[in-house]
Structures are given as structure tokens and as C-alpha cells.
Symmetry: C2
Subunit: 353 residues, 2 copies
Amino acid sequence: MDEGGNEAFAAQDETLRDAAFSDGAVRRPITLADVAREARVGESTVSRVLRSHGSFSEKTRARVEAAVSRLGYVPNRIAGTLASTGSRLIGIVIPSLTNIVFPDLLRGATAALEQEGFQSVIAVTDYDQDREEAVVGSLLSWRPAGLIVTGLEHNPGTRRRLVASGVRVAELLDTDGPGLDIVVGYSNRAAGEASARHLAGRGYRRIGYIGHDLSKDKRAAKRYAGFRDGLNQAGLALAGEERVASPSSVEAGRHGLEALLARVPDLDAAYFSNDDMALGGYFHCLAHGLPVPGRLALFGYNGLDVGRLMPQPLATIRTPRVEAGATAARLLCTGAPGTVVDLGFELIEGATA
Amino acid sequence: MDEGGNEAFAAQDETLRDAAFSDGAVRRPITLADVAREARVGESTVSRVLRSHGSFSEKTRARVEAAVSRLGYVPNRIAGTLASTGSRLIGIVIPSLTNIVFPDLLRGATAALEQEGFQSVIAVTDYDQDREEAVVGSLLSWRPAGLIVTGLEHNPGTRRRLVASGVRVAELLDTDGPGLDIVVGYSNRAAGEASARHLAGRGYRRIGYIGHDLSKDKRAAKRYAGFRDGLNQAGLALAGEERVASPSSVEAGRHGLEALLARVPDLDAAYFSNDDMALGGYFHCLAHGLPVPGRLALFGYNGLDVGRLMPQPLATIRTPRVEAGATAARLLCTGAPGTVVDLGFELIEGATA
DNA sequence: GTCCGGATTGGCAGCGCTGCCAAATCTTGC
DNA sequence: GCAAGATTTGGCAGCGCTGCCAATCCGGAC
């Protein structure tokens, strides 16, 4: 059923656009020199006033501002950046926009950057290290003041470019390994271990893992490794696992749990690579009348809002993603080189385990 | 319970960074002139080779590329943009990063833009038209080749800036009204109406609305208006409504439905301002043992994946958000002025209504 | 009235690249 | 072998702004 779907191309009302040209003049973009002429001051004076930098009289300020608004002048930051030393751009490289955790990170970072007067340029890698190398190169060509990247694992080429460029780099959402400069995040390994300890401590013994493609998502792989270690420390082993060959999603979680239960029917707990997956698992249990956590316990990762609002709140680990973005942004602007900030995580007991 | 949360600041291994300076030379950034000297050709020749623009011999190409890789040259797009006429930047203005629909839009747009060789700069307005005006000004100072904004409603100041700048503008996710230039989306009014027709057609008579703050979210307000019209056309009126004074969320949906049912206990269907809200409503029903749709039917908007995977698939309207982003991006690069594309929407019957 | 120091202002050389044009080099046909 | 044309190449003037420096102005001290 497809409604409202008529492909319609039509010329729009041009009144507004015409109005912009109503003076009949040729639309040469307005430059700082135009403003200077209009205000009868020098170019550098206009520049000083607009940036509130250096000294100028109140009278001059008023004249310049009047000229600016009369002409509708918009400064050209391209030219400004080229002329001055550093840009006010920060590049942000994230693996995906499909999972809400990365928009969360962006949200924290852009809000903090805006406060400091920076603009963010984003690029998405689709969890592909070769694409990461390419987008890092592309971002560096804008001569950013800093770069925020996700994770600690990068191609040799990416590392070389980052280091050679000399720009500040912040690596996010992982502290399990050495970083290039600033590192802000939490230990994914420890999160996996904590999850295992929690489930083992609750008395679950037949624990399975449902995950997505771990070859590209290094942080999920670290949680998985930590989880197995945690089970071993408790004298347990994974009772079974299912890796869905796709990015994480509610669907992958639902089908993954179904597949795993078919192979390992006596599972008593399921650890998911994240909350989306766990929500899918929960839906499977609801749909098939499997009591949670009586018949099967569920445990996620990320602490998304949705988990808190399920009929039974999801047992999970809350990660400070927005804070990580904001912290990284601030440190890029002001922090000492080599600063590492472990923001930690919080285990939420919920009611599904 | 807070683990792994030790705030740790430590100097990182500096080996890599030092390596970059191991030649002992002062790190003056490498410019195109350096490459030209190294390759023993003119600057314009290097420029032509790097942009594959104009003609040059195979031998020259090889020489230049060897010099580039020997020196590790990264072109400076700031300078390139200033020197050439147009930039390869597109500004994207979205109201929020909290709701997955906007990352979806970004995803479509950035993917398409990358193909065309453009980079995107994003800005977030928090659904505030004054902030929109500010971020539009800020984006325009980067002299973008085009701007993607959300919705058709803007401050007079925003409209003036957009028009005066002369950049191409695409307005997204709404076709209910006149646009400035390119418009890509679907009719929110029609979506609301279709939802009402569907519920009425299914025999529901006591239909309520659960929404969020509509004063800022103009598209949700249009759906609401369309929904009321649709009910009227079917000879019905809204049996009650609940507006949660917060952005849309699962939580708002859950609490909103609870509040509405307390006031209007004989409701037989609930229309939510979007799927997140509807999911919250579904969770409320599950938690309180209300049969869906027997006791209460639920209807959402957006067609998120999660709705499809609920034990009973959510009745909703699927909107082509990723496609809208991609289409807008392509039209900005190549489309005729004033192009309006209505991508339509799809009503998904699901099992909750 | 003159001088001094600080506040204010303007001029201009770049920032690194591209676009234009003219110069140099290579082809081709006869 | 040579001219006409095509291909390849280099020089250089900006793009619009900022940073530096010198010039100018002002008020108060002498």
C-alpha cells in the first residue's frame, strides 16, 4: 500500500529569490573590503571588530556593525582559516550512523565543540579500516584543529597519516590498548567481564552469546573476549554462541537467539553484543512465551533508554557515550597530550537477569 | 554499581610521534610548491595531476605521484577552495541527533555526497528556530556548495540568509507547503490522514492521540492536524489526547499512554506521534496485560526496524528517510532549481491495529 | 604649548592553491 | 624537412582574510 507517492517536479515560487536581486546589481559576493569601504575604515579594523580581537573604539564598532548589517555581509571562514594559522574545524570519524551510540557520541562532541567555537565535520567508515584511512585523509585536507576517531585499532596508513599531520587526535569508546594522543572511553574488556561475573553470580550456568560480525567491530570483540574470560574465572564456559553475519540490529538479535536456542535448548542465559540485539532477544522470548528471566535471562550492553522502559527493565551496562564525546571535544581544545580518561561504566541490574 | 571508573591520566607512548620528527627538520607543512620542486615540474602541473584535470603526460603523472608519496603531501582544501570558485562542502542542518530518523537522513545524504566528492558539515538545532538561524549563518560562512535543512518552516532571518547567500538549498522530510528551492520528502498531513482512515476503517471508534511537544516539531504537528481531519472525514472525533512536555521518546510514549488511559479508560485505539512513542505504549500494554489490539490498538509513524520485530509488528507508516537524504544530496549537486520530489510513504498494517 | 605613552587605525604581504594565458614541446601530413 | 596544429607545461595574479608593523590620534603631564 503506497500512498502520497506521486513524483512531482514543479517550479517553486521565485518571489523571495528575485527579491534578493531586486537592486539589479550583479551579485558579486560581499567581502570584508566592501564592508571597510562602506564603514569608511580599514580592512584590518573591520577584521578586528568582527573577531573582537585587538582594540578599537566603540564608535568604530558601531560603524562597522551597521555596515555589516546594511550589506548583509557573511565572513568567509575559508579565507580566514587560510590566512590565520589554525582552523576551527574538528573532524569526527565514526563507524556507523545506524546504531544510536554514534549519534550519541556526536551529540556530546558537537555540543561541546560549539561552545568552544568549533564546527564539526563528520565522516562515516562503515566499520571498514580502509575507508577509515581514506576519510581520515579527506578530513586532514581541511586542516582541522583536531580529529576524533572511534576506537584504538587503525590501519598502519591511518596511524601514519594521523601522526604525520601533527593534529591532535582523540580516540574514543575504548581504553583497552595504547592510544596515539588523547583517549576517552571505558574498558570494553572489563565490561564483558563484569557482565559474565554478574550472570555467574546470579547462578546462571548455561550461558550463551549472541553477537554480530566481530571481525570489524573491535570493541564488541573485546567485550566478547572479556566475557569469556569472566566466565572462565567463574569456572564456567560458554554454553554456545551465535554470530549473525550482519551489523548489530534488533532483527539480528531476535533471529540470533532463535537460532542459538534451536542448537542449545537448555540455555539459561543469553549475553548479547548490545542492547539492540538484546531487545530482539526479548521480543523472541515474548513471542514464544519464554519467561524472562525464569526460563532465560537476558543481558545487553550500552544502557539505551529503550531497555529501561521494557516491561522488565533490561539488565545491561550503561556506557557514557555522550560524555565521552563531550570530554574528548574539550580535551582536544585544551587538554594535555597523552591524556587518558577512563569514564567507566555502570552495571544496571534490571529485571531480565 | 560503578566499575572500571578510575579517572586515569597518563602520558602515552611517544614513539610514533617522535618518529615523525626523526629527520630533525623543522616541521613546516608540505605544500604543493614543495611537491613541484621535488618532482621538478611546475606548480600548476602538480595541481593538474592531483585533480586529474587538464592534460599531462603519463611520465609527469608518475613523477608527481612519486614526489607526493615521498613527501607525504596532503593537499590543503582550504586553499584550494579559496582559489577556485565553489567549495565541495554541503551543510546539513538537523533538529536532533536523539531520534534515529535524523541519523538516517544523514546516512543517506553523506553516502550520496561522498560519491559526488563532497564533504558534509553538520549542525544541530535542537528544534529551535533561533538556533537554526545561527547555525545556518555559521554554515554559510564556510561557503558551502549547498545546504540541506529539515522542514519548510524557518525564521524570516533564516530565509533571508538562505536566499541572499545564493547557495542551493534542499528542504527535507516535508512537502506540505512552499519551499525555497529543492524540496524532498513526503506529506506529513497525508500520513496523519491515512493513519486516521486506517484506524477508522478497522472499526475503532474511541481513538486517542499521544504526542510530544508539537510547538517545535512542525512535522509532528502536521501529522496531528492531518490525523484529526482524517477522523472528522470518517465522522469521528479524537476521544482524548495526551501531550508529553518533552521530546519524543519511548519513555514519553509509555507514560503518555498511561496518563491518557487514566483519563479516558474506554479508549480502543492510540495514535502516537512516532514509533518510539508507540513502542513505549506497547510496553505499557505488555506491562499491564492489556491485549493489543483486542483491548487497545496502537499506531505509530516512521516504520523503524524495531517495530517490525516486536512480537506483534507495529502498525505504522514507513517513511523513506535515507532515500530522502540521498535524493536531496544528488539534487543539490545536479538538480534543477525548484525541483520538488514527493517520495511518498507506505502504510504498514502490522498486527497492533 | 610640547612631549610622551598608550590606544586606535590602515597598509600590505602573504596563507596555498587554482585559472588563465603564453611558451615550449611534440605530432602529423606533405 | 618544415609548417600547422595539438599537446603539454610553467608563470603568475588573484581568491578573502589575518598578522605584522608603522602611522596616527588622543589625553594628560610637564
